[in-house]
Amino acid sequence: MSAVIELAGVTKAYPGGVTAVRSVDLTVEYGELVAIVGPSGSGKSTMLHLIGTLDRPTHGTVRIDGHDVATLSDRQLSALRARRIGFVFQQFHLAPGRDAVTNVADGLLYTGVARKEREWRAEAALVRVGLGDRLTHKPHQLSGGERQRVAIARAVAGDPAVLLADEPTGNLDSVSGAGVVTLLRELNEAGTTVLVITHDHEIAESLPRQVPMRDGQVMA
């Protein structure tokens, strides 16, 4: 059980004949920082969904943190996501009108942690991403880069086995984007496994390992 992500012969075909991912093998060890890079339509979003257990493969096996996704029920997958997987999305997905602490604490809602503890951990996570002075700011009072940092704080507050970032810099200018990448790198150095999905080769090449994708296949 040394790999946090193990994909073996994974294929995802949608009804209608579209095969988004085709016999992919991928192993990511604990503590790695990996970029899945490819143009749009290469199947990287489907990879994110499969690795994030939001979707199941048509063929092949997906093991996350040692759990075979095929053997888990929908409820068990939810629990796996709640405790072992953190998501960061291109659109941030922050709740408007709720301050940074509440947004981050909401990420721990489904872990069974009491409210006080959630808020305490949320504050710690916000300090970790460099937003210690923005705890009570609401999303509309924050810059794009800061919003993405709040989203990252939400993803890491529960101390997940893997952090999945889907185009984390897609909605940001290059300076904020670079800041977010630096943050992800820092989190990785502190021990979090990070998987970034991006179409940006520059960002991908700045990371230790790249997994290039094209037409649903990982290119060697």
Partner: protein, 386 residues
């Protein structure tokens, strides 16, 4: 790995958050429920208050008054009660008091200039001295009639028709008005009557001395027993020619009519409530459509389908409970205002309040269930892509 359970406090906060993020919409859809519940609460409240008022009045008036009047003979002629019927009735054990009025055939005029026949529909009755205490009559002003001299007391309606006159003209003689009565709820026939003393009527108006209505009060527990022996006591020779009635029954009969009306209004309130429920369902369906991204996010954060479903049901329940609470309050206030203008006591039965809140819980659950199921069925990937 088992999913953690959502705490109740967290669930309430989740439901409340969905409503707070769109306050105007929440208020408007809760308003539908509120109006329905308010209508139903007010209808029940007003009818209960009216009933409570009636009960209070009946309790004050007493339900132990019975009246005896002559019916008709076998040949269809008007029967008469024997002169001694009052004293006979007074001798029945449980009877506390008995008194009578007798119809006098003379007409009452406002002045001596009024043409004959224009009596204004006023009846002229000879009254026993103890009439008022038995029927529960009260003098608005003045004093009770003098039995020997030509004096009159006017019923409430009669006084209104005649105006503020010092005397009335009966059979070529001026009769002094000594007093005016309040309306007598248990003997409304006295309201449109002009009362003269029993002896004075015999002396000045060729009154035959036959009582035409005997009023009697009995011990409460024995009213029905007294009722059954009144006819043979009043007229032993022909009890069939006697009619016995209980005036408080007539008042109580109004309740039945009220109940029909209440049922109709309750139906209207139920329709308003149904429309309100549809409004809540509509709001929830739209909310689910708009919040696909939030649903996707929550699924990615580890919410199970059940937890998403529960969140939306909780939101719907909160929404309709909000409306229900406001409606119950509004209905209570409306009842209070209406009852106050009628000088009724404000009575809203607890079952109406509990029923109002209970109905909103049912409506909230039903209205929220379908949207919540749709929200839970949404695949996380689909929700996130929207």
């Amino acid at each position: 790995m088992k999913p953690a359970r959502l705490r109740l406090s967290d669930l309430l906060r989740l439901g409340g958050y969905g409503l707070r993020s769109r306050p105007l919409r929440a208020v408007l859809s809760a308003l539908g429920i509120a109006i329905g519940i308010a209508a139903m609460t007010a209808v029940v409240g007003i009818s209960s208050s009216s009933r409570a008022d009636l009960d209070q009045r009946l309790a004050a008036l007493g339900t132990n008054l019975l009246t005896v009047t002559p019916g008709q003979t076998m040949f269809g002629e008007d029967a008469v009660l024997p002169d001694e019927s009052v004293s006979m009735i007074r001798r029945i054990g449980p009877v506390q008091s008995a008194t009578a009025t007798g119809k006098v055939s003379s007409a009452v005029y406002r002045t001596d200039r009024v043409p004959a026949g224009e009596t204004g529909g006023l009846a002229l009755l000879a009254a026993s001295p103890d009439l008022l205490s038995t029927v529960g009559g009260v003098l608005t002003r003045g004093t009770w009639i003098n039995q020997k001299y030509p004096t009159v007391v006017l019923g409430a309606t009669a006084a209104r028709r005649l105006g503020n006159v010092p005397s009335v003209y009966i059979d070529g003689r001026w009769w002094t008005v000594t007093g005016v009565l309040d309306p007598v709820p248990l003997a409304p026939e006295l309201d449109s009557a002009v009362l003269v003393g029993w002896e004075a009527a015999a002396t000045y108006l060729s009154f035959d001395g036959h009582p035409t209505t005997v009023y009697t009060r009995s011990v409460d527990a024995q009213v029905e027993a007294v009722r059954s022996v009144l006819a043979p006591t009043a007229n032993p020779s022909s009890p069939d020619e006697v009619k016995v009635s209980k005036p408080s029954d007539a008042l109580a009969a109004r309740r039945a009519a009220d109940d029909t009306f209440t049922a109709l209004l309750l139906g209207l309130g139920a329709v308003a409530l149904l429309v309100g429920g549809i409004g809540v369902a509509n709001t929830m369906v739209i909310s689910v459509l708009e919040r696909r991204a939030e649903i996707g996010l929550r699924r990615s954060l580890g919410a199970t389908r059940g937890q998403v479903r529960t969140q939306f049901v909780a939101e719907s329940l909160l929404l309709s409970l909000l409306g229900g609470a406001a409606g119950v309050l509004l209905g209570y206030v409306v009842t209070g205002l209406y009852a106050t203008t009628r000088t009724w006591p404000t009575v809203v039965p607890w079952w109406a309040l509990a029923g109002g809140v209970g109905a909103t819980v049912v409506i909230g659950a039903i209205a929220g269930l379908y949207p919540a199921i749709r929200a839970a069925r949404l695949a996380p990937t689909e929700a996130l892509s929207g």
